[in-house]
Amino acid sequence: MIKTITILGGHGRDGQREPVEQIELKMGDVASIVGPTGSGKTTLINDIELFANANTPTGRRILINGQVAPAEYRDNPARNPIALITQHTTFLADLPVNEFLTTHARIRTTDHSQVDALVGKALSFANQLTGEPILVHSRMTELSGGQTRALLIADATIICNTPIVLLDEVENAGIHRTRALELLRQYQKIFIFVTHDPRIALLSDYRIVIGGGSMTQVLHTDEHERACSVRVSRLDDLLSGLRDRIRIGGRLTAEMMEEFS
């Protein structure tokens, strides 16, 4: 049973110790990682996914339930408690979608009688996030950036179904972000979102701020911010509405702007 993940700070790009020395994430926590482009956000979640033990360029260490992660987490995907949805928006895997998902389900689960059911569920999950549905017989390499993202999220949630989920910039690639968050938060897990999106950052219990390759601060979402969060979400929904209109070939009108004031 996974109860906690601990991140023990290493050093930033300048070689200095990270200002934040230790962060402990508990089951059920939703955390964000924020910071400018190139600051090292992806590097931090990669460290977590690799169960870094002072053997990555940052010198960080990751503990699971206070202990160094057992080697089998990395050697046997069925035992790996982490699913990572990377920033990639293209696949290099030259397999048809169903064969890819089936193979992944086979290596991620111990109960092989469930494989077909999992693949079916993952596909319908993914298709709730995309505009145009993903066809099971298309090749992975033919999927669009958004479809790729949607499929990776579905794969992580349904097929991996791990206690820890790491998402790198879920807001990118134009998928239904709010729907994705709703679907994801039905599950009791540790979620870590790398994000540039204020809505996602404010939905989190706390955010880890990155700069120059270092964890510089941990900010807990306070009452003021929770109050802001309601308005941020409303603005965001309004913007999404405009985005959807434009997507389907509609026009915007001056009245629509009234709602923003």
Binding site: N46, E49, L50, N55, T56, P57, A71, R74, D75, P77, A83, L84, I85, T86, H88, F91, L92, A93, D94, L95, F100, T103, H104, R106, I107, R108, L152, D155, A156, C160
Partner: protein, 233 residues
């Protein structure tokens, strides 16, 4: 003497993996020598001599299969390694043959595959994979976690007993377990034998007959519509 034989298709990251491995071996007190076997061009020997100040050599297999060339020269190489007072001989060989494999019964046999290569690569490399002790998968930084795991499954499907280690050979992530495997591998000394049975592959084209069409040849022949053959292991 520890012996590492590292094979793998072109540009999969063999040199990058070995660079990190050699550094770690040297840091832990090993005296390493390096041999590169390639068909007609290689410069890893010069790179490693410069970077680590260790004895290095290269040999071009030329008209020979590189894996056969390895069998030919490995005895000499081990003597050379002994003469230089080294404790580990690391061999990088171009895995071009796909019918043979270069591993011997002692030491560590290591194939390097890249996660970016397409999902059928494990099915194509034959005994170079199935006779290895460990398959090292590089370039995991370039693919999603899901693709990495499906690639692992594809290797397991064709080579269930081969251990798999995923690495980022740019940053040297995941190399430590490989170094441990070198440490715990059996010492190479005295008489060494090639692992598995090589395929019977000598045909009349090998000895210089240039006529096109199987009717002009004898011994091992192959018409278009015959896919029955002895694969070796």
């Amino acid at each position: 003497m520890k012996l590492v034989i590292c094979a793998g298709p072109a540009t999969t990251g063999k040199t990058s993996v070995l660079r990190h491995m050699i550094r770690k071996l040297i840091d832990a007190g090993d005296r390493v020598v390096f041999l590169k076997i390639d068909v007609q061009y290689a410069e890893e020997d010069e790179q490693f001599a410069r970077e680590f100040g260790i004895p290095t050599k290269k040999v071009y297999s030329g008209e020979l299969c590189p894996d056969h060339c390895n069998v030919m020269v490995l005895g000499d190489a081990l003597q050379w390694a002994n003469r230089t007072g080294s404790t580990a001989l690391v061999v990088e060989t171009a895995g071009l043959c796909l019918r043979c494999s270069p591993y011997v019964d002692t030491g560590l046999g290591m194939i390097v595959l890249e996660a970016t290569s397409g999902m059928n690569l494990p099915l194509k490399v034959g005994p170079m994979l199935s006779l290895a002790d460990v398959a090292v998968v590089t370039k995991i930084d370039r693919v999603s976690q899901a693709e990495r795991e499906v690639f692992r499954a594809r290797i397991q499907d064709v080579a269930p007993s081969v251990r798999i280690r995923e690495v980022n050979a740019l940053h040297g992530i995941g190399i430590d377990p490989l170094v441990d495997m070198v440490r715990s591998s059996p010492d190479a000394a005295g008489r060494m034998l090639l692992r598995g049975n090589p395929p019977v592959g000598t045909c009349t084209i090998c000895v210089g007959k240039k006529e096109v069409g199987w009717q002009s040849h004898f011994g091992v022949v192959r018409p278009l519509e015959n896919q029955v053959f002895y694969r070796g292991e």
